[in-house]
Amino acid sequence: VSATADLDVAATRCVFDLADVDPDDASSFGGKGAGLARMLAAGLTVPPAFVISTNACAIYRDNGNTVPGWLAADIDAAMAGLERATGRGFGTGEGVPLLVSVRSGAPVSMPGMMDTILNVGLDACAATRLADATGNVGFAIDTWLRFWRSFAGTVLDIDPDAFRAVDRLRDDVEKRGTLESFLALERAIATGIEAEGRHAPLRPHDQLVLAIGTVLRSWDNSRARIYREHHRLPEDMGTAVTVQVMVFGNLDARSGSGVAFSRDPNTGAAALFGEYLAGRQGEEIVSGISTPTALSAPDALPSGVHERLASSVRRLERIYRDAVDVEFTVESGKLYLLQVRPAKRTAQAAVRVAKDLVDETVITPREAVRRVSVDQVRNLLRPTFDPVALARATVVTSGIGSSPGHASGHCVLDADRAAVAAHRGEPTILMRPTTSPQDIRGMLAADGIVTARGGALSHAAVVSRAMDKPCVVGCEDLDIDLDGATFSVAGSTYPEGTLLSMDGGSGTVYLGQLPQINASRHDVPVDAIVAIADALSGCEVWSSTPVGENRSSASPAGIGPISLTDLLISTDLIDELIAAIDDLSQDTRNPAPRRRLSELAAGACRSLLADNTGCPIAIRLPNLGSPRAQRMISTWVELAPQLLLPGGIRAFYGPLLQGIAAAASDVGYGCVGVVIGGVTDARQLATIDASLDKLGRVSLALGASLHSLAALAAGPEMAARGFALWVDIRELIRTFHGFPSALSMATDVFDSSVDSGTLTNNPLKVLDTNLVAALQQLLTAAGRTAAAGIGIDGGVGMEPAMTRQLYAIGFRTFSVAGNQLATVRLLLGQVAAETVDE
């Protein structure tokens, strides 16, 4: 390299003191460097550091993967700056040696890149000085060996096992603690590395340059390149390198290290939470060697540090716009923040923190709904065993709860048999000595998994967590006899098929089927988050199942459309309904079945209305032309054909409407909605509506459930005549695609067709573009005012992708099963928040 060329590139500045780093320029200084600069700018104390900017990456590569002389000189100057700031020497001098960490920092974190090398700056002399200064020879050795292990693994690409021989010397060095013994250790390290065919650089300065070079080179590793290609990230972006002083928590009595959370990570309560180890380094907290003190304990921290820590995390929350956790070290009474990141938290804490941060105006409602995941809310509201039944239940066995959730079912001891039973629709608990990939089919199908052996890391635990399925492992007193198809616990033997209940959280297995109830979480402000989501989405969400008491701010906008058939099934009167329909079909003038129909409808609705006073309710009349009716009524083929058309025989809907009206009047309900399924012409509704006049009571408002493209086409006219409209989305999808009703719930069948490439999309998850157009047309033709009232009846489930599509089309009224109310409303709020962003 000629002298002139060297001068040219020297004009490029790559090395920046932290104070000169622009916190908003992550593309030059990486996420880590910019983050540290932001903390410094906010007045927080971080250990002194400098950053090598991302443009050094290309310079390093163009210079044949070596650090050019001028850049090495700049790095040396920056190191001298760190020496001045700390009063410590790097590889030279007296007293506590200067140690640094070397970290990568790409603007976007990328796979396969070198992460961190700690404790750079030790040779035998420096390690001896460290031992003297801290009065802890063991610490000096461990610090040094930790450096060598990570340096060998990442920089030299040597198996860390090369140090097994060195480990044997450790105790001897600790006993002596002399420079000679440290030198012997250094020789052993060098020998171990040379045995692997590599050269061991012993001077801290050389180690630093190599570590920096490794970070810069790791930008070009193959995984990172593939990642950039895939995400269309520019190749010349490069990674920054942050070199930062390491501080010591074990220097004296006023030193120590800890972790702090700005809020309780378990409950989300707004109070400083965490642990502190006096006189120790941070790694010792993680390793669990010593017992730390809770930050909440009085005088846990040296004087003044608690206040400083508390105000630091408050400031960090404003910067990060989130609850944070920090790693910190106190060195001779001075607080240093080492690492800050958005805090890990439980679902409960996530909800509480999101709500509180909105209240404290740290974040906007739009941010808040995205801080809580739909899965977290689902898990929080997961049904639990009825405490009354639980108190009386017999515990069969217990183990390690390795995947939370509750399940009941017949125990099956073989994965294949479990799969068969579960596919027959039987609730099934797979109980195995242990599980292997060969049991996967049974594990996928079963409602819960129990194993006798294995720990929280076992195959069963990992797989069940991935499937979000309750699992208990390591029930050590459980003895399974596969040949005899029995299992025994403490002398009692049970046959396969025994009904069991299990709690995958507590790890307990009970005898019999324990009833489950919806969890009411008074300790978590789920309702508040749902209310925020509602305000964002502007949606009204109804419950398609009765809700009863426990009404709160998160209660549904209405109840329905709820099917009269389901109400009669739940009170065991379905056979009477079918018998009355049969009789009516024989002779439509016979008053007896008509009277019976009216009584049945009145009875079923009376309790529903009484339980839900004051809430809009929509009741769906039986549709005898539906596939469901065809399955339920054994004499279906013999029914009078007119009965199969909605309103085809007045003698059928007339008495039902009469019964519902009577119930409404008894309970004193102002207005009850009645929804008719299967209509395709506004005249059908008009005719039924006219018959209401004859009842002399106008407490019923008629509406339609739309099942087909024909119904969608007729929708605008129905809406214009004032009828309420619900789109039965599942049935609409079925008739649109023309698949049989047996596939209406078979999401997995469609999924496997998508996997094998025979279908582009799962029709139950993603609406076809033609269907989207038809729904769009419905809203457009109905006009702005009417469109607001047209609801989507989601039935048992609403897939997230489809919910997004429906929201984008413009639907703002939805109906879902009661146990999905909170999750769907949160999802709608999240979709709305995204939409606003775009």
Partner: protein, 189 residues
């Protein structure tokens, strides 16, 4: 007695317990129609049972797979290199399993994520050593690489989802495979 190609196919079913024709085709790098024909033949010989959800091994089929492992790999079982390779794998295995669990518990913590993928990368490199004696192990390396690329592309489902050719699935199948090669029972943890 079965030939190598038949073993290759039956072994997939043996390790997966239930394998779709598509699984078999992609894992043996053969056209779907060919695999379909071969499976029809094996079905006739009553070595496999075809069900709508996939192919299962019959008792005879299972015996033949176990017998093949025994015959083909008996000489390797006393091979010092392979045995010590396996012992090192056990260390790697312990780390992998712990990392998958930690990854799940921390909802995919970035550091754990990275360490997890590095461990998989190490196994892929180590597999090279076995390929000369067990050529079909190259298939595991290819599967790992494909799924690693998918994870790096942002599809985290390819880490532990049991329904996909996830790293965890491939790892466990490989573990079962090498245990069968060595003729050892599976550890229960």
């Amino acid at each position: 007695v079965i030939d190598d190609a038949t073993f290759g196919l039956l072994n997939v079913v043996y390790l997966k317990k239930l394998a779709s024709i598509e699984d078999l085709a992609s894992l043996t790098a053969a056209p779907v129609d060919d695999v379909d024909d071969v499976i029809a033949g094996l079905s006739e010989r009553e070595l496999v049972v075809s069900t709508p959800s996939g192919v299962l091994l019959s008792g005879t089929g299972r015996d033949l797979v176990v017998d093949y492992y025994q015959r083909a790999y008996e000489p390797l079982r006393s091979n010092v290199g392979l045995v010590s390779w396996y012992e090192q794998f056990e260390d790697l295995n312990t780390r992998f399993i712990a990392l998958v669990s930690e990854w799940q518990h921390t909802n995919g913590d970035a550091r754990v994520h990275e360490r997890l993928l590095r461990v998989v990368g190490s196994l892929v490199r180590e597999l090279d050593q076995l390929v000369p004696s067990i050529p079909r192990y190259e298939g595991y390396a290819n599967r790992f690489n494909l799924s690693l690329a998918r994870v790096d592309a942002g599809n985290d489902e390819y880490i532990a989802n049991p329904r996909l050719d996830s790293l965890h699935n491939i790892w466990f199948e490989f573990h079962e495979d090498i245990l069968s090669v060595l003729g050892r029972p599976r550890d229960t943890t």
